[in-house]
């Protein structure tokens, strides 16, 4: 998982090794990279190229995703592309 990429919230919770990540949305607190109010798995999160790690908070637990460098060219994951086509979900840019 690399920076300079657009991900879905579900992809980031999965990378953070959250147990049963798909069940966490809309039931309690989900914050990714400081963004509050994430209630849908296809919420899109864009990680800028300088991002090294991402904090993921689910309920009262904190997880961390450490990124393996950065994509040279801005990338949209396949899941994020699907989300963009199907639901036009909320998009939250993350600038760090």
């Amino acid at each position: 998982m690399k920076a300079n990429t657009k991900f879905t919230a579900l992809e980031l919770l999965t990378a953070a090794k959250v147990e049963k990540p798909e069940e966490k949305f809309g039931k309690g607190r989900v914050r990714i990279a400081g963004v509050a109010g994430i209630v849908k798995p296809n919420h899109l999160i864009t990680l800028g190229k300088d991002v090294k790690k991402v904090d993921v908070i689910v309920g009262v637990d904190k997880f961390e995703v450490v990124l393996e460098g950065s994509e040279e060219v801005f990338t949209v994951t396949e899941e994020a592309k699907k989300a963009l086509k199907v639901n036009k979900p909320e998009v939250t840019p993350v600038v760090k």
């Binding site: 607190r29 400081g34 509050a36 109010g37």
Partner: protein, 144 residues
Amino acid sequence: MQTHTVKFQVSLSNGETFFEGKGQFKEVAGEKSPFQKLIDYLVDHKVEITSLALYTDEGRKFNLPHAGKNPKFSPQIKGDFILPIDFNLFRYVEQDMKATGGKVTDSKTVNLFTVAEAIYSDYKVQLWVDENDHNNCRVLILGS
């Protein structure tokens, strides 16, 4: 550093209550914002927010719906209300700027609101209070 006239008051699932501007949640230049410090505190102590309100130094208080089992507002005890799943807080700033030769020569803040959010599974309820006119208070509902 901006000093806010509308600040948060928060109650937690462990019974604690904190006020922005007091104790460990003071605004200090170069540090995280008081609300960011609160988020760190929630994670460190494994607690959740049960209520979030805004208050002013002259004693006004603006409440969002309560998420705990024992709300102080009795109609919320009697009614079958949906409880928020999370809360958030941010500041909204609008500025007028004058630019000459590509450089900003003057700027003036025209709107500054403190905004508290109650987050539900399908929408958010936002409580907006004007930092410069505490009588100017609005509620907005946003789909998510």
